[in-house]
């Protein structure tokens, strides 16, 4: 089972991100489950969503306390919220930021992870370019596909297209593919390092 | 027998049989084929205004709908005295659920009939003042707001009579009830804000709102018939004296109701979509004292320690009603109500 935890703020599409990921996994014939933490519907408040992917039916519904993958949609949460709680050293971490890990003050912390499993990606910028809005969730899913290989970017794209209107879906799909390429390059670059 | 054109100014009040009237002008009650929707054998008190009012309303509604009528009834005197287990007075389909939900139950019935394509079957909801003005108020407002196809009738005997005569929001000022006794510095019910639901119903701008009393049979039946000719939320507020609670003689029920109107204490009018469309004029304004004296619930205002100050306040309220609704027959035909016809 792969357990993914996504952190962001209300209004950034954190919940939708988990849902889309689950739909993508379903599209590949997996069992998957997506759900958010629940609270008052308030824009800007920290939000966490979860996604489990498995090749067997998923019966548990408890929150994910030891995620295999951590996605951080809003870097302002870094150093404010205990984002990394429960993430093992073998975990994957994807952070939405145009800055490097060093610039984010995470260089030292990042050393506990495998270098090909932690990356930043400027998802908000990608989203602004493709959607005209700073909604990074689709882009981050593309990055997730590149980082983990857990689902293909094509499956992500299908899930996106099924969810949104044609023009919005198209833009989001492009954002996902852009981020996929960016993260692939980052990781690919490492293996030659 | 020769017919002549006869104009009666008080048709139907003293002459229930209407035997001198054109057959078309006779009341439903005068007809042999009236449905008798509440048949005899019920356990109402002698002189019960509500039994009378409900009979008048339902028979008129049955006639207007060709008998295609379903009734929802809130808990209260009417429900209790018509269904002493294992008997029932009701000769139409009738549902009693709870005290506070009469309007909502009626809404549900109307929705079901609509879903089943049976909108030719009409719905009447009924409750006492408690079930309408107090505990049923939220549901009533919801029904109005949705404009559900229901005629809701409030039989107002100004108190919770079935439980032993406690005050409701419809109990008039100074009236004695079991929990507003004539003791202490302010005897009887307080001079509060009151809660006149017909005006609140008008504020919802529903298709039809009317008030009536059991003293004017033609008027009441006409209003029921008119209401049933319309669709959407309609509200009828009927003053029904309660000899037990009002401590009036059981033979005086109709007389008390008439005096309530003729003093101006109970305005009789019709309104459509929030505007008053007609008022029943007072031919001879009667001083409120004449009305108050025949009810034991006001006895403390007279007798050994009379309270002419309270009577004067009641008179002032009656006068205000007359001005507000334009009830004087020699006065101007206009009314300065917010929704008044002008």
């Amino acid at each position: 089972m792969l357990e993914v935890r996504i952190h962001g703020r209300g209004g950034q599409g954190v919940v939708t991100a988990a849902e889309l990921l689950s739909v993508a996994a379903f599209g590949e014939g997996c069992y998957s489950q997506a759900f958010p933490t629940f609270g008052s519907e308030r824009t800007g408040a920290p939000v966490i969503s979860f996604c489990r992917i498995d090749d067997q039916p998923i019966e548990i519904h408890e929150p994910i306390t030891e995620p295999d993958v951590l996605i951080v949609q809003d870097p302002t949460l870094l150093h404010q919220v205990r984002l990394f709680e429960g993430v093992g050293d073998d975990g994957y971490v994807l952070i939405n930021s145009s800055r490097t890990l060093e610039e984010l003050g995470l260089a030292e912390y990042a050393t506990r992870f495998r270098p090909d499993r932690i990356a930043t990606v400027a998802a908000t910028e990608v989203a602004r370019r493709r959607l005209g809005r700073p909604l990074p969730n689709a882009a981050l899913l593309g990055g997730f596909a590149a980082l983990t290989g857990a689902v293909s970017v094509d499956s992500i794209a299908s899930a996106i297209r099924a969810r949104f209107t044609p023009s919005v879906g198209e833009a989001n799909e492009q954002a996902a593919r852009d981020a996929f390429a960016l993260v692939s390059d980052t990781i690919g670059g490492l293996s030659h390092a | 027998m020769a017919e002549q054109d006869v104009k009666f100014y008080q048709v139907g009040t003293f002459v229930a049989g209407n035997r001198l009237l054109d057959i078309d002008q006779r009341t439903v009650q005068a007809r042999v084929d009236r449905s008798n929707a509440i048949t005899s054998g019920h356990r109402a008190c002698q002189g019960c205004g509500e039994a009378l009012g409900a009979r008048f309303v339902l028979d008129a509604a049955m006639r207007a709908t060709g008998g295609n009528l379903v009734a929802a009834n809130s808990t209260g005197c009417l429900e209790v005295f018509t269904t002493p287990y294992p008997e029932s007075s009701w000769q139409l389909p009738w549902l009693h659920s709870l005290f506070g939900n009469g309007p909502a139950v009626a809404s549900g019935i109307a929705a079901a009939l609509r879903a089943k394509g049976r909108e030719d079957t009409r719905v009447i909801g009924q409750a006492g003042d408690g079930g309408t003005v107090d505990i049923g108020f939220g549901c009533l407002s919801g029904m109005f707001e949705r404009n559900d196809d229901v005629l809701f009738v409030c039989y107002d005997n100004e108190g919770y009579m079935n439980t032993g005569v406690q005050r409701s929001a419809a109990t008039p000022p100074a009236a004695v009830t079991a929990n507003t006794r004539a003791i202490g510095p302010a005897p009887g019910n307080a001079f509060g804000q009151g809660k006149f639901v017909p005006l609140i119903a008008m504020a919802h701008e529903i298709p039809y709102v009317a008030t009536a009393t059991v003293a004017e049979l033609h008027d009441l039946e006409t209003k029921v018939e008119k209401a049933m000719s319309m669709r959407g939320a309609r509200y009828l507020h009927v003053l029904v004296p309660c000899p037990l609670g009002w401590k009036s003689a059981s033979k005086d029920t109709v007389r008390v109701a008439r005096l309530a109107k003729e003093t101006g204490i109970f305005p009789v009018f019709e309104a459509e979509h929030g505007e008053v469309t007609s008022v029943s004029k007072i031919r001879r304004q009667v001083p409120v004292e004449e009305y108050l004296r025949i009810q034991g619930r006001y006895a403390h205002l007279f007798g050994d320690h009379p309270r002419p100050d309270i009577v004067a306040r009641i008179q002032a309220r009656a006068d205000r009603n007359i001005e507000r609704f334009g009830l004087r027959s020699d006065g101007p035909e206009t009314s300065d109500l917010p929704g008044g016809a002008s």
Partner: protein
């Protein structure tokens, strides 16, 4: 059709497939997505004929359902928590009148203190309302139970509430097979009302019943619920044959045949329970689980049969009777009367606190090692130090509400905002 969708949406589609003629609903978290989705399909005409009443309260919702059901319409509503309580009077009225209304309860805690998260205190508080109570273990189970609920309600003339854990199930996106309309139609015939307000055949419904007959009427309610104990497995069997899914009828035993210790639970926590059972089995513990789908009527015989061979039973429940003890625990204890079984009662997951495999495992291991007291209520994951602090504060005469001071203490202990 199998798709990856939100539990609420799946339930709404299943309910729509059952062709309700009147829906009257008032929104409350976490049921909102269900009633919104139903509002949509009525609005587009996809579900027709159906009248959707936007009522002004839950009390009005159930009241409108009563009127509609008495008029012979198939009727549905949904609520949770405070809403269920607000319609309490009407719940008893509906069951007393024998109206086959079906309602989804998206289980949520009852305040005060106000809490929007999942536990079973709402439905449990209404366990004696005369409604049949079914608890779904999963979203698929919830979907399937709704179809069975309409069939059951109309067969025994009793209202049925289908309970599903609020947020945990309602807001989880999972793969769910929602039956196609033609399959639902084959399983659920049109509603043939036993009592109907009809001018062609007038009847008086809801009259007062005095001391001379009330007992008999109430007895009949009880008898009908007992009849449901036979109907529920029969309908579940028919459902399994039509749709190929068998969740069990009244109860669902899991690895209980040779179990020495069995965990009893209701609702979605059963997924976690079974995962914990599997892990302990791998360690050689002879442990099993019993899921209870039908809580009212209480399937005493089935519970007894499933647990009779065990030596220890651990009831894990998401509500409790304040000042008295467990609820499911007490019912279970009764079913096991005179059997040589030690029963432990654990309260877990109140107000949405997650029930984790780790915590569950720990309490089960305690039970196995006889470290758990049988005759006392255990609160899983209770912050005992916080409670002690608060009690001390009370004894010292400090003022102010408990909830606020506890939250302050927990906040201080946790540091900054929770992650």
């Amino acid at each position: 059709m199998l798709s990856q969708i939100e539990g609420s949406l799946a339930v709404a589609r299943a309910v729509a497939g059952c062709r309700p003629e009147v829906i009257a609903a008032y929104p409350i978290s976490p049921q909102t997505h269900i009633v919104e989705a139903l509002s949509d399909v009525v609005r587009t005409g996809e579900l027709t004929p159906c009248e959707y009443l936007m009522v002004e309260s839950e009390f009005a919702a159930m009241s409108a359902c009563i009127g509609a059901s008495a008029t012979g319409a198939r009727t549905y509503t949904a609520t949770a928590s405070q809403g269920l309580l607000f319609m309490a009077e009407a719940l008893f009225n509906a069951s007393g009148l024998g109206l086959p209304i079906v309602m989804t309860v998206a289980n949520r805690a009852i305040g005060a203190p106000i809490n929007i998260w999942n536990d079973h205190s709402d439905a449990m508080s209404m366990r004696d309302s005369g409604w049949v109570q079914l608890y779904a273990e999963s979203n698929q189970h919830a979907v399937d139970l709704h179809l069975q609920a309409f069939r059951l309600a109309e067969r025994v003339s009793l209202p049925v509430m289908v309970c599903m854990d609020g947020f945990v199930l309602t807001h989880a996106v999972e793969q769910i097979d929602v039956p196609d309309q033609s399959d639902v139609d084959a399983f659920l015939p049109p509603f043939d009302a036993r009592q109907e307000l009809d001018p062609a055949n007038p009847m008086t419904i809801g009259s007062m019943v005095g001391p001379e007959a009330f007992t008999e009427v109430k007895y009949l309610m009880h008898a009908k619920q007992m009849e449901a104990l036979d109907e529920i497995p029969a309908i579940a069997e028919e459902f399994a044959q039509s749709f190929g899914r068998d969740h069990g009828g009244l109860v669902s035993p899991y690895r209980t045949d040779d179990a020495e210790i069995v965990v009893v639970a209701l609702g979605s926590v059963l997924g976690t329970v079974r995962a914990t059972v599997d892990a302990l089995r791998d360690e050689g513990v002879a442990i099993g689980a019993l899921g209870i789908t039908c809580f009212r009527p209480w399937p005493a015989d089935e519970v007894r049969d499933a647990l009779a061979r065990a030596r220890q039973v651990v009831v894990v429940e998401r509500a409790f009777a304040v000042g008295a003890g467990g609820i499911v625990g007490q019912n279970t204890r009764l079913a096991l009367a005179h059997l040589p079984i030690t029963l432990y009662n654990v309260v877990a997951g109140l107000g949405g606190r997650p029930v984790t495999r780790a915590a569950l495992r720990a309490v089960l291991v305690d039970a196995v090692e006889h470290q758990l007291q049988p005759n006392q209520l255990h609160f899983l994951d209770l912050h005992e130090d916080v409670v002690r602090q608060e009690l001390e504060r009370l004894r010292s005469g400090a003022r102010g509400p408990h909830a606020e001071s506890i939250v302050r203490v927990l906040g201080a202990a946790a540091g900054s905002s929770p992650s």
